[in-house]
Amino acid sequence: MKIVNKLSYSLLFLSLLAISSCSDYLEVEPQDKLTESQNYRDVYDADAAVIGVYGKFMNLAKKYVVLNEVRADLISVTNNADPNLRELQNHEVSPDNPYANPADFYKVILNCNDVLANFDKMLADKRFTQEEYNQRYADIGALRSWIYLQLGIHYGNVPYITDPLKNIEDIKDESKFIRLPFDRLLEELVHFTEALPYVDPYTAESLVINVDGYNTAKFFINKEFLLGDLNLWKGNYTQAATHYRTVMETATGSGNDSERFNTYRLAWGTDIIVSYIRYQEQDLESLINTATEGWGSLFSREMDNDWNYEWIWVLPFSPDFEPENPFINLFSMQGGEYLLKPSQKVIDLWGDQTQLNGFPYDARGRKFSYKTIGGQPVVMKYLSNYLNFETFTPDDFFDKQGQWFLYRAAQLHLRFAEAANRDGRHRLADAFLNNGVHNEYDIPGTVDVTDIQQTHDVPPYDFDARQGDFPYYRGDWYRGTGVRGRAYLEAAEVKGDSTIAIENNIIQEAALELAFEGNRWGDLVRVALRRNDPAFLADKVYEKLQKEGDSRASEVRSKLMNPDNWYLPFNWKEEDND
């Protein structure tokens, strides 16, 4: 008997050997994914489809950050970086560079198209209600528009496909799919997205749940924010401001005062501001800087109230589920390859600011956004869930938690300010950039604030930031600090023409506040296109390369003076790097 057992083990062992040695027939039908025949029976299947799309979408996280930062001026490649990353930095991208392959974007887009078509069928067959349809259709439709916006930013002319395709390779057929110029693409996107049947956050209980310790409410794209972005790109400033304003007023009417006054308003009194211990502002060691307190805690804190005051769209990476967090490898020296680092340019930019206590630098820089570890600057925003706060080493090398940061309140305020500024609201734009509406429209020393501390303007520019005790007022915006106010900085000076100067200040502030979060290239392209001024973009990239001591800085600058060279080669390739 025993012999027989052993014999069978041996045979098993042998057969394993035979398999592993020469063949690859381990492919099995997935147990945890749906096949087509099992799909779209009821609303729960629809939810699964939505979650599935977001799962695929997360594979774009690495590309999003790499393309938007390495091509721009706030991140530089390290000596460890491979030639593909260097090509992006030097703007000489070869057609077979995997970072430039659009296929990854289209895989998710086709997935969206497929899901949207199936939702239509489900609705026709009454497999779910109109309301259920609206929420899910709008979500996936908006997500697709967001991806197309990214495609437009990086490739300029792209095929705009909204039909389901069985085969991804069909896109290669250029006769079927004409590539739209960026501006036409924006028109299509505004048209499609504005027409979506539902623009609020999900109310569906089956989708807003707690899973693996995360609440899913902010996994999904904020459609109003996206509509603001699309209109801002298109130059529809009033519409853009209106959409942004809707997001800014998310908590208006809430019975909970903290929620009402703090949510998306950059309020004082929260744990997510740059601050020093009271009355010890002159002591650099009194800067509030822990994993749960201070501006830096935005990137490390749990999904608590303060987190909710700022974050609008975030997707978490966890060691418990796929895909793996790509940012540890990009940014960390420990557990990663340290391929990317803060550019000298952004380090200097933070160093040029002055805090309200006279300290000659922006604390968001060296104290929070990056740290010098072993003599090298390291991007910290993506590592604060991974590295220990004191030792800067991982407590657990394999616990690669992290987040993909997509939308947050400071970004919202800066975009709103950008739209308002172009819509002739210089003072309001400046208020959001610097110290908030309350301070900007205040007359210090006035007791009766009935007629001050507010904008007296038409929507979407009508803000009430009154704080008075006789008579009593607490306007929705009374706690708003402005982006620089929250960072404990002196106001940015307006030099020369207001529209241009304030816009310059806003874009610079976006660098200081949102550095490394994947906004920079878009900001540069958008403003350079708007002004028809390629130098706006080319000069900034030039300064970065020059500060890194790159001899090609001038060459790259002259290349970027031609907007055609801003875009990546649209070269379809079968394999990708994810």
Binding site: A18, S21, Y279, F359
Partner: protein, 483 residues
């Protein structure tokens, strides 16, 4: 039963072998040794070379013939018989010396002549480094047969021995006829600054390397035993040395003025780096920032080459007193203590820029509520002389306030509670700190009768009111006056 098991075992092995076979090429062709040189070890190869017979004999006497048959990787620079005949007999008088000699020809790594681009510092088994040059030389020896491969390394044949040289510390210990060297070695047993008791406490029960821990020259300065570094050492003959010591003696008034003066003279005669006679500059800056003029006319004889440096014997080295006695800067943000410890919340370490954009750090104490609150500082090991005192204290309040500086003195409470009041050496009067003055302010002079550590205190105005009792200090400067 057992037989069956064995059979299965065999089958398994065969199967694995079969699996490997089926998917991979035979490795044999790739790894087969074709070079017959590589069949013999280095020891064997040397034993067969008749021109290396003297060196091989030494290897046998020291047991290194066996070691060189082991499976480590060695490179040997083997002196030929002619070279061995040049070795001074006193270097090979006993077994220890012989081993030291042999070890200085061997390194643990394969070092071919092709691996040198310009100069390679090779660490021998003695721990000492030898320069291996691209033009097929090592130190002074020519390599006459290069890159002889064996199974466990390489050897080269050289035409001169690699005699182990002394390092700087060994040189000092071996040459105590010079007062300078004698003094340095004596510091092993002498507690110049009265601080060595604590080392005995820290290292209690452990074996103390006296040289390293108890010698003030090594402890406060370069570690002269370091074989990886190169030092240039100036050794003054006794008269010239005494001349320098006497010159400094008026400024080292204390219980042991001579010893102090000797310490200050000696520590500024050691420099990091290897300066050949040809590239010897006319002035060197010591590790303590002192300018030391080097007059090549004063060099006596040929320099002595060491394993980690070079020694020049000098009849004199004339360091100017004004270069020796340098201004002392004490940073405000680096206090040694406070008159009471409970005021951290009112103590601000600041980072600022001055109007010219120059970055600085300083300290400010505000709102503490204690009349005559003190920030304490220590100026380490001052010379006995008169000092001019300056401060830079930046006041960014609305108006002036007053603070003053005390040199020496203070209140000390011993463990059993006895309070000792020490008279200050000098107490400067209250000094107005004018708003936004970024210049250095001259406070006055004080005279130090005895060389050594001096405690200082920055004292707040005698009031509890925050507006008037603030303290601020960027730095203090003490400028010694040369009489």
């Amino acid at each position: 039963m057992k037989f069956v098991m064995k059979l299965f075992g065999l089958l398994c092995i065969l199967a694995v072998w079969g699996a490997v076979q089926s998917c991979s090429d035979s490795l044999e062709d790739h790894v087969k040794v074709n070079n017959s040189n590589l069949k013999a070890t280095i020891g064997e190869k040397i034993s067969q070379d008749s021109d290396l017979s003297s060196f091989y004999q030494l290897l046998q006497e020291t047991g290194y013939d066996e070691i060189l048959n082991s499976s480590k990787t060695f490179t040997i620079w083997a002196p030929n018989n002619a070279a061995m005949s040049m070795v001074e007999s006193e270097l090979l008088t006993d077994l220890d010396k012989k081993i030291e000699f042999v070890k200085n020809h061997i390194t643990l790594a394969s070092t071919t002549t092709g691996s040198v681009e310009d100069t390679l510092q090779v660490q021998m088994l003695t721990g000492k480094y030898q320069s291996f040059y691209a033009n097929q030389k090592i130190e002074n020896a020519n390599i006459i047969v290069v890159d002889q491969y064996a199974s466990n390394g390489i050897y080269h044949v050289i035409d001169a021995p690699l005699t182990p040289k002394l390092n700087l510390w060994e040189f000092i210990v071996e040459n105590t006829d010079y007062d300078q060297n004698k003094f340095i070695t004596k510091l092993n047993d002498y507690d110049l600054f009265g601080e060595e008791e604590r080392f005995f406490e820290i290292y209690e029960g452990m074996e103390l390397d006296k040289d390293t821990i108890l010698n003030e020259i090594l402890r406060t300065g370069y570690y002269l035993k370091d074989e990886k570094k190169k030092f240039t050492y100036f050794l003054i003959q006794n008269d010239g040395y005494d001349q320098e010591v006497q010159k400094l003696k008026p400024y080292t008034k204390s219980l042991t003025p001579n010893t102090r003066a000797r310490y200050y003279v000696s520590r500024d005669l050691i420099f990091e780096g290897y300066y050949n006679r040809d590239n010897l500059p006319d002035t060197l800056i010591s590790q303590f920032g002192v300018k030391v003029p080097i007059n090549t006319m004063n060099i006596v004889g040929e320099p002595v080459k060491l394993s980690n440096g070079i020694v020049y014997v000098m009849n004199q080295v004339n360091v100017k007193l004004e270069d020796k006695l340098q201004p002392i800067k004490i940073e405000g943000e680096e206090p040694t203590g406070f008159s009471q410890d409970d005021k951290r919340a009112f103590t601000f370490y600041r980072e600022k820029t001055d109007p010219s954009g120059e970055y600085f750090r300083d300290i400010e104490i505000y709102g503490h509520g204690v009349p005559e609150f003190e920030i304490k500082y220590r100026a380490p090991q001052l010379y006995s002389t008169t000092y001019k005192v300056y401060w830079r204290a930046v006041n960014d309040f609305e108006g002036s306030f007053w603070q003053h500086l005390r040199i020496g003195g203070g209140t000390y409470i011993s463990e059993n509670g006895t309070v000792t009041q020490i008279d200050p050496i000098k107490e400067f009067g209250d000094q107005e700190v004018v708003p936004f003055n970024y210049d250095e302010v001259y406070l006055g002079e004080f005279t130090l009768e005895e060389a050594g550590d001096v405690d200082l205190a920055l004292v707040a105005a005698n009031t509890g009111t925050s507006r008037w009792n603030a303290l601020t200090l960027d730095y203090l400067v003490l400028v010694p006056i040369i009489e």
